[in-house]
Symmetry: C2
Subunit: 264 residues, 2 copies
């Protein structure tokens, strides 16, 4: 599974302050820690970034990539900031994210194509949370069609069935699990040249649950989704129990070789 | 998921001694503890029981059921001891287990029918461990055919794809996982009147692994198999982390209602 580290977010106090002060150290340190813990990509969530978003994204991309050898996931609603980040990014970035809304697709898919970036397509629209599996499918089929139209390769598209808080919208979690299974059949369903990838913003599922349950809920959800064929996940790689579960999944499915020391 | 508590086994020191001394207390206490922890059935493994197996099984069945309101899983290679146990058992027992060997099937399937018992059919034969998914399928198809022939209802048959130690036979664990998915399609594959159930002797998977890894490996394997549709498992219900994972699986799949206190 491709691990996307979620920890660099403007909503985290220390990161918010570092962004405000343009102090790279806390950001770079957290990127390094995530890379050391097994993150393949580092998500960089700068929020809405309505003011100076382009400068901010370029500064943060350059700051991290000067010190940490990982590609980044550019995470903001500000499309100009996304493009600014793509301009200075080394390697293959991921755009996080495009919803199923046509106006967003018409802007972001061409960007993904132009900069040879991957892109996360999330089963959401401006109308809100899709109520069932079919509505999720309908949204991502629209995303896939847009990717095809703009010549974004299917392998570069990561579809997210959208995990919602089990404490608040329990039935939606089950719908998310079922939707993943359907998304994994999209190549066949739509006659695509290749199967799109899948991902999940995992921590959402335990939002509003008590702190002592969060890790258990997160890793249980991840094991269920991995069993359903999940290709990548946006997670906290510093959660050791979570990363141990991911490794154990790979061991049980014969993807990495067992050794008594496989967790070390 | 139907939980079968595995802890009463002649190979456990305290239980072996209690059996030898015909002292019911340690056995009844362990049955109670497992029932309180969520076991739906209590497995009673009296080993080969070549000497006085019938007396022993009747004594242990009566001792437990006098104190604990749970059906039992009669676990011995001694067929006469199985039948002796079925004669005195209250409620619906489970026979653990029949392999794919014709001589065993010809004796045990009629017993299951006669005593209205459920039966675990394990993907093994006298020839040893099946090397791949297809050989597992071939064995259980033979078991299913025998059940049909002897009019054992498909819903009373629990097929076990056989978990082997990941530390020793890693590829076999992956085959076990894949085999479960195939077993779940047997109704369609064989044109059966109903889908047979599935189960797993879970703890085998972590045999030979270091003690500090066993619980993690067990519960990861169980989450993967539950995601594949597993109906029941022979497990240690006193492993709190394992039972918490099972409950969380049910929460995520909307089978039991979420509450912040769902683990209490």
């Amino acid at each position: 599974m491709i691990v996307i580290g979620e920890n660099i977010s403007i909503t985290a106090k220390a990161i918010g302050a570092a962004i405000k002060d343009r102090d790279p150290k806390p950001i770079v340190d957290l990127a390094k820690a995530q890379a050391d813990a097994g993150a393949d990509y580092i998500d960089v969530n700068i929020g809405p970034a309505t003011k100076n978003g382009e400068d901010l994204m370029q500064w943060i991309v350059k700051s991290i990539q000067a010190e940490v050898d990982r590609p980044l996931v550019l995470d903001t609603k500000n499309v100009s900031a996304i493009e600014a980040g793509l301009k200075v990014h080394k390697g293959t970035a991921i755009i996080n994210s495009v919803t199923g809304d046509q106006d967003k697709l018409d802007i972001l898919m061409p960007l993904a194509k132009k900069y040879n970036a991957k892109i996360i397509g999330i089963a959401l629209t401006d109308k809100g949370v899709p109520p069932d599996v079919d509505s999720r499918l309908e949204i991502v089929m629209n995303i896939v069609s847009s990717a095809m139209e703009h010549e974004v390769p299917m392998e570069d598209l990561y579809l997210d069935p959208i995990a919602l808080p089990v404490a608040v919208l329990q039935e939606q979690v089950h719908n998310c699990i079922k939707a993943l299974t359907v998304f994994k059949q999209l190549q066949e369903l739509m006659g695509l040249p290749a199967q799109p990838k899948t991902t999940i913003g995992l921590s959402n599922v335990s939002q509003s649950s008590p702190p002592e349950l969060k890790s258990l809920i997160n890793r249980s959800m991840l094991m269920v989704l991995l069993s359903g064929g999940l290709d990548s996940a946006i997670i906290d790689p510093l959660d050791k129990d979570l990363m141990a579960a991911v490794k154990t999944f790979d061991i049980l499915n014969n993807k990495i070789l067992y050794a008594h020391s496989y967790l070390d």
